[in-house]
Symmetry: C2
Subunit: 529 residues, 2 copies
């Protein structure tokens, strides 16, 4: 990324506030880099001052007043129009995102992430239309009724690694916040501002097309840290969704927590994968290939990348590790999302090495194009891990994994017991049942530490399913009760519980009335109807 | 309350840790007062050091490991045995709580709060048995399944005003935490330690009777502030439930938030009640009596006490206010829970008066027994309220209310727009529809600020209903998405979302298996079954 404080107002990209693309009130500018060429891309984007945030908040607050009286049907139409608009601009989006992130156009961007993104928007539309996410509960004897309702403007800070599906003006948090009835203030990830801008255009077009308040979506590109913290603490903000680095996320959390504003975070996760001895005997070679493919896919830049492997010392484990190292060494290293990702990966390797991790392969420069690092496998003993568990759980975001070799099952339990909260945890075990006793000892310990527990499957795929939990205990996220993926679950983060006690029938939300006949499933006097 | 740092180990009440009543590791002692006589009660209780917390955490952590594999049926049996035990000791509990709090034995303690408490325990038992609170969701096509599960030992800090129903070893948080499968570390409210001790005895008896881990409940009486903060930040703690003063609650929140430990708070609420002009014309005299009765009941010491009244200036409003003032002046002032409550009420009155509130009656010494203050009505204009809304929302916990007189409807909207988060908000309007236009302007503004919106009904009753929301935006609570009253909703605070992805059938929790045939309602591929 290239920064400048000298600005030429004629060439700076505008921000989107109150339905208008207008010049930012900027304190500086930046350009995104093309990670493949390492050269700055042509467009210049503003670093917004507080004035842009203030204007965004005022616009979103006014839009919220209008949206409060809108039906789920109207919101659904907006989300569907947006999905259609995104498809119409698929080529632009794929070209821009490829230039800004180096992620492959096909299949990744065009054939996987873009359909996932429009699918999420349409699932969110369906949830807004059905109203099931509101979880209406009626107690007729006491005349008390409750359901979830919108809570106000939502700030969305998107991550670098999914420019579409987690994008601040297009992704899961965006779709969930809007479907729950809240306007959005999107803060683009600075590594793909151009991609986010196209989504902002799609959102504004969809708002105009469907008669929504044009301030349903604001878009700014970057702020200073203090301005960002001021934004999430404003009393007009209903909640914040943040996906990104742990340091910046914790600073925002501290600020929002201090004033009682809900903030949902997805911060870091090493996603431990346990390979038990029996399954390594059974098919260690096959699993080495499965693991290597999963860990190097997308240059390892997934929040659910398997960044930690736990094995028990054995000949089968040695062979498994040798095979992984060979595959990592032979594979071409992919291009990383940015110089920042490369620097952070290097720093994590240095931290792990300084704490005693042995380098089995990699940690140096990569052999691929642009910003890249060598495919890396580090290794520590279970005893070493347990001596300094915090350092050993340093996330190395990218094409890298740490193998922890436990001396025996007891040490493996100790290792899992020292884990911080993670998004996922996985155990591979033998088909013949020979690992079952070990599984039964390890699984309960791992269960408490992760949002999603897997068997015999890599964690990298995150299905958009109502049963999904893309969440987990701190520091994987900020609250263990919520998921960031999966409709309608993800919407609950952006709702408040609203109870009506003896409120006259005609003043109730339609789904809480006695004569309601719509599609929403309701829990009435203890049974679903 | 009487404090001492000189201790005589022979006479200090023991704490309950790991199923054993044992001497505290204490840094001091205290005695509770009898609020009616203002004299110290005979028993001496310890102020626990960190060593007691550490022992409590270790015991609860071990109990949690055992509880993880227990069925809902086993937990239900414990809660029901506890309810039976509480009923068997009803006379002891009522006598002790009356001595410690001055709350009337009948009907309040014996006939209202005690049955409510055992009712909550039995509702929680039914929820543990049915498993419906776990909200199981199954996606058969993707073989992904999720449900809520327990999250670990829960610290409960109970308030002064409901020694049974919100008690740390007996009340709503306690019942919800245990029903969700978590052991509890109870911190008694220092104003009724003897009452809490009897509940601790009931809990230990119930644990022994039903074969639960005896460390299912720990009980300590008091700690220093730093020790309390260290307790809620410990990594063995799953979550904390706190009901009490705003200052102490915010300190605990800051500590818990800093390490990502969930904390649920019920802090303060003025519970605005709006009387529109038409309804005051219709039946202002009747409403004055209804309001006065509600506000003075229990000497106003309810979290949902109507501490703020909003009227529009009119002759009917003047008559209504005169009638309230007359009733407040004539009624005997009740005994407050403690000298601390009396001092805090006095301080709040001074703050409000200094900010310009006019005293219509009260603010001095009361005419009742023990710790009491005169029944108090203060008044400010809407304009004055809007000039300094933060100060004007100072909670005056007790037999006191602030009347805000708006010049017109526009000013009334401004007043509501300045409200902080509250547990409840209420609007009284005329039966003939003459207030409907005003209602439609005010209700949407009030809706966003409160957890429970009422019509034509005082907020003081909080039914234990699945449709109840005893919660609301900050600072009423720490998160607008959760309720502290109502089963199963209240249990979700003490659960984490646990997802299973491709986990082998026999390793799944029973309620997520394909062949499950129990009573729990499950959302399978989009429909409740």
């Amino acid at each position: 990324m290239t920064f400048s404080i000298q600005t030429n107002p004629m060439s700076i990209e505008p921000v989107l506030i109150a339905g208008e693309w207008r010049p930012a009130d900027s304190t500086g500018t930046f350009q995104a880099d093309n990670p493949t060429t390492k050269e700055a891309l042509p467009a210049t984007y503003p670093v917004s001052s507080w004035a842009d945030c203030e204007a965004s908040l005022a616009a979103a607050d006014a839009a919220f007043v209008e949206m409060r009286s809108m039906s789920g049907e109207q919101i659904a139409e907006f989300l569907e129009a947006m999905a259609n608009g995104v498809e119409a601009r698929a080529d632009d989006l794929v070209d821009m995102a490829h230039a800004e992130t180096a992620l492959p156009k096909s299949p990744r961007l065009a054939d996987v992430e873009l359909p996932r993104t429009t699918g999420q928007l349409r699932q969110a539309a369906a949830a807004a239309r059905s109203g099931n996410w509101k979880h209406p509960v009626v107690d007729t004897a006491n005349d008390i009724r409750s359901c979830y309702g919108p809570l106000g403007p939502v700030c969305v800070f998107g991550p670098n690694n999914f420019p579409f599906a987690f994008g601040s003006a297009s992704g899961g948090d965006f779709a969930a916040a809007i479907a729950a009835g809240n306007p959005v203030i999107a803060k683009a990830n600075s590594s793909h501002p151009g991609t986010t801008k196209i989504f902002g255009e799609c959102a504004l077009d969809a708002a105009k097309e469907t008669g929504m308040p044009e301030a349903i979506v604001q878009l700014i590109y970057r702020t200073g840290h203090e301005v960002g913290e001021q934004l999430v603490t404003d009393d007009r903000v209903g909640a914040t969704g943040y996906t990104g680095s742990r340091g910046a996320g914790l600073a925002l959390k501290r600020a929002a927590d201090g004033v009682g504003n809900p903030i949902y975070l997805e911060l870091s996760s090493v996603n431990p994968v346990v390979f038990l001895p029996g399954v390594l005997e059974e098919k260690g070679g096959e699993l080495a290939t499965e693991f290597s493919g999963s860990c190097l896919m997308g240059t390892g830049q997934f929040c659910t990348n398997p960044g930690m492997v736990l094995v028990l010392k054995s000949e089968a484990a040695d062979a498994f590790i040798d095979s992984i190292v060979q595959q990592f060494s032979e594979a071409t290293s992919g291009t990383l999302l940015s110089s920042a990702v490369k620097n952070s990966l290097h720093q994590s390797h240095e931290t792990l090495k300084a704490a005693g991790a042995e380098v089995l392969c990699g940690t140096g420069e990569g052999n691929g194009a642009g910003y890249c690092a060598a495919n890396t496998i580090l290794k520590v003993s279970g005893a070493a891990f347990v001596r300094d568990p915090e350092t050993m759980q340093t996330e190395a975001f990218g094409n890298s994994s740490l193998i922890v070799e436990a001396a025996d099952l007891g040490e493996a339990v100790e290792v899992l017991d020292q884990l911080e909260g993670n998004l996922t945890g996985c155990i591979y075990s033998a088909a013949d049942g020979s690992d079952d006793a070990a599984y039964d000892q390890l699984a309960p310990v791992l269960r408490d530490k992760v949002g999603r527990l897997l068997n015999d499957k890599m964690p990298t795929g995150v299905a958009v399913s109502p049963a999904m939990n893309h969440g987990g205990p701190f520091p994987a996220t900020g609250h263990p009760g919520f998921t960031a993926v999966g409709i309608p679950g993800a919407m609950l983060r952006f709702g408040m519980l609203q109870c009506y006690d003896a409120v006259r029938q005609h003043r109730l939300p339609e789904i809480l009335r006695d004569d309601y006949e719509g599609p929403t499933q309701r829990l009435i006097d203890g049974s679903w109807q």
